[in-house]
């Protein structure tokens, strides 16, 4: 049975960490994720968790110590945002290729510059090819639920990959909303104990991690890592099903909001989906067949499944809270359009960059996008490859 409460996204993450009770947490302060290590430090100070906190001197060291700790056999977690994630970059790849199932809660914030502390997905999107699993949340409830499922996915023997649990900076991390929390005992039973097959400190065996490998070996290692990412798809769905049996809250790769009979759809990630849902509801009242596909899992990328879910739609706008400077749209736009093409999806598709550095997106902004989709459905795409929403002229 869930317990109703109200709290911010960061508090929800801290609550989940208390229930998971990880062994080690190395972390470094950075807005807007700073509260998470603060909350955990308080729990440690009050004896509410057995976690050992490592107050590292940088995020590079946070990820390095996390890698060492997880390799030694301890369930490990860290938290970061923005430039902190960027500083970890090199070690993200080491952790993933070492097949270490550690967890990182990412509070999404734009990368500098200009220096800005607000919501944007450029930090974790930049790390999308680092070999980490990535799961995104619309609100505090989802980030809580996603984190509770994280270790079950990452530690699965067919996966063994690190995982990022992402939420939008401030909009989700600091806004207080209603939430349904689970009791400790069923959650502890669901998460289970960490019992890796091999680790540095395992009795009766030694282990060497982080080899230099020559060309005859590297390619196979990378292919095996890609296989683990493919395997994760089934595991993510299995874990979600098990979680739903306990909590009643169901999750998949993505949420289809009034999408089944939609003629026009938006595809988006994160907190903006709440705004989009409001716009969809309004438009539906006026007879517009609007819908939303909200992406939850970005790595592994459920391209085929999303293309199928959009197969009946006349026109779709793929929304990126991230500029990738490729001149070919944002990361979600580029990847989803490629998947739609491969799956012979006939919908007209546009890519829109919005909400950079915390720029608000309103219900009216979203309605304007649906208006564009109606025109595009009749006349085809006449715009450039991708456009911006809410840009000041």
């Amino acid at each position: 049975m869930g317990v109703k409460n109200r709290m911010s996204g960061n508090e929800a993450v801290a609550h989940a960490i208390r229930q998971i009770n990880p062994d080690v947490m190395p972390a470094f302060p950075i807005t807007p994720s700073t509260e998470i290590p603060q909350f955990v430090s308080n729990m440690i100070a009050n004896g509410e968790v057995d976690t050992e906190f490592i107050p590292v001197e940088s995020e590079h060291s946070a990820m390095s110590a996390a890698m060492g700790s997880e390799a030694a056999g301890a369930r490990t977690i860290t938290a970061t945002s923005s430039c902190g994630l960027a500083l970890m970059w090199e070690v993200l790849y080491v952790a993933a290729s070492s097949r270490l199932p550690l967890t990182m809660t990412v509070v999404n914030r734009g990368l500098t510059g200009p220096l800005n502390i607000n919501a944007e997905h450029s930090d974790s999107m930049g790390a999308r090819d680092s070999g980490w699993l990535q799961i995104y949340a619309e609100n505090n409830q989802e980030v809580y639920d996603n984190l509770l499922q994280a270790y079950r996915i990452a530690e699965h023997k067919d996966v063994l990959l690190p995982i990022m649990i992402c939420q939008d900076g401030f909009i989700t991390s600091h806004a207080v909303e209603n939430i349904e929390l689970e009791e400790d005992e069923p959650i502890k039973a669901f998460v289970g104990k960490y019992e890796p097959e091999h680790y540095l400190l395992k009795a009766g065996e030694t282990m060497a991690m982080g080899p230099y490998a020559t060309s005859p070996y590297c390619m196979e290692a990378k292919r095996a890592q890609a296989q683990a990412m493919m395997n994760a798809k089934k595991v993510i769905l299995d874990v979600a099903e098990e979680y739903a049996a306990i909590t009643g809250r169901k999750y998949g790769f993505f949420e289809e909001y009034r999408l089944k009979d939609a003629a026009f759809a938006l595809v988006a990630i994160g907190s903006a989906c709440g705004t989009i849902k409001d716009a969809v509801d309004d438009l539906r009242k006026h007879g517009v067949k609007a819908g939303l596909l909200k992406v939850r899992v970005f790595r592994p990328f459920p391209g085929e499944e999303m293309a199928r879910a959009l197969s009946h739609v006349k026109a779709v706008a793929i929304m990126d809270r991230c500029e990738s400077y490729s001149c070919n749209g944002g990361p979600l736009g580029s990847e989803l359009m490629a998947a739609m093409y491969r799956n012979k999806n006939k919908a007209e598709a546009i890519n829109i960059v919005y909400g950079l550095s915390g720029r608000d997106i309103t219900v009216n902004d979203v309605k304007d996008v649906f208006e564009r989709l109606k025109t595009i459905a009749q006349e085809g795409v006449k715009d450039t490859q991708y456009t911006y929403l809410g840009l000041r002229e």
Binding site: I54, S61, A71, M207
Partner: protein, 312 residues
């Protein structure tokens, strides 16, 4: 702590760096690692960390490892942080009763990975007081990538990024005094050593570093025959001359107290150390005597400073 030194017993201990690795013949780094690991008491377990460098790429080339103990390499600049994570995990799992054995934590980095790119990670790990030893095998340049200068490179050395030439006398700057920087962290143990005689100094300091509770740092001058350009069998003479000229003094800082371990009766001129090494060949061209004088002056200044610190 009482340190006994039974040469035969110690050399008879199991090799914890197995033969068959790919390090160069006569490599000082290998000598450092073998001898530091000999200071682990038989029966004690260890996790060995390693910064990227010659040592890592030559001793753990997939699918072979030369390490008898568990080993972890992460990247170039984060050996300190990585082992701090391992050590923390050990304390947590030990407290939970999941681990019964006693482990020691020793990480090796070259001077590039320690003095330069890994300095922050090292400083953080030492300041936090993890029960671990960081061993720098200092060969005075980025040898793995082909002898580029580091902040450990001695002044005037000819390296591939400070080549001597018509307009250059080699590296323009004096070397960084890393042992003093680590001593300023007020950690329980700092030692500086190299290969002398029957390796007693290296053994004794390694044992103290490993078995001192808390963070410890060991700086080991480890000549590189390729980068320094000397005749490989000369390594022990070069180390002896580094100490006898006071270029590389042997000292410890224990609980904040500076201890000079050796004072030469007759301090030799720095030329004696420089002349057998190809990297200093240009200093011996006629007209360059002033460079050697400058080198000597800096060695003298640092030696006097060290003596004062050690209460001499």
């Amino acid at each position: 702590m009482e340190n006994t030194f039974d040469f035969k017993e110690i050399q008879g201990r199991e090799e914890r760096l197995a033969p068959g690795h790919r390090m160069c013949a006569g490599c000082g780094g290998t000598i450092a690692v073998r001898n530091v690991l000999k200071a682990l008491h038989p029966g004690d377990k260890a996790v060995i960390g390693n910064a990227t460098g010659c040592l890592e790429v030559s001793t753990f080339m997939y699918p072979y490892t030369a390490y008898v103990d568990s080993y972890i390499h992460n990247a170039f600049e984060n050996a300190g942080a990585t082992l701090s994570g391992v050590e923390t995990a050990y304390r947590v799992l030990k407290a939970q009763g999941k681990i019964k054995d006693n482990y020691k934590f020793i990480t090796f980095g070259g001077d590039g990975g320690t003095y330069d790119i890994g300095l922050q990670s090292l400083s953080g790990a030492m300041e936090r007081g993890h029960d671990m030893v960081y061993v720098c095998y200092d060969n005075g340049a980025y040898m793995n990538t082909g002898t580029q200068r580091s902040s450990a490179t001695p002044m005037f050395a000819d390296t591939t990024t400070t080549p001597s030439g018509k307009q250059s006398n080699g590296k323009p700057q004096y070397r960084k005094d890393l042992a003093a920087i680590l001593a300023a962290h007020n950690i329980p143990y700092v030692g500086q050593t190299t290969f002398i005689g029957n390796m007693k100094d290296l053994y004794v300091k390694s044992e103290k570093a490993i078995y001192t509770q808390g963070a410890a740092f060991l700086n080991v001058m480890a000549p590189c025959p390729r980068g320094w350009r000397y005749d490989t069998p000369e390594i022990m003479n070069i180390c002896k001359l580094a100490v006898e000229t006071c270029y590389w003094p042997l000292f410890e800082v224990i609980g904040g107290k500076w201890i000079l371990n050796y004072e030469p009766k007759n301090k030799l001129p720095i030329e004696d150390f420089l002349k057998s090494q190809g990297r200093f060949k240009h200093l011996f061209k006629p007209g360059n005597e002033y460079l050697i004088e400058a080198f000597q002056k800096e060695v003298d200044r640092r030696w006097e400073e060290l003596r004062i610190r050690c209460g001499k």
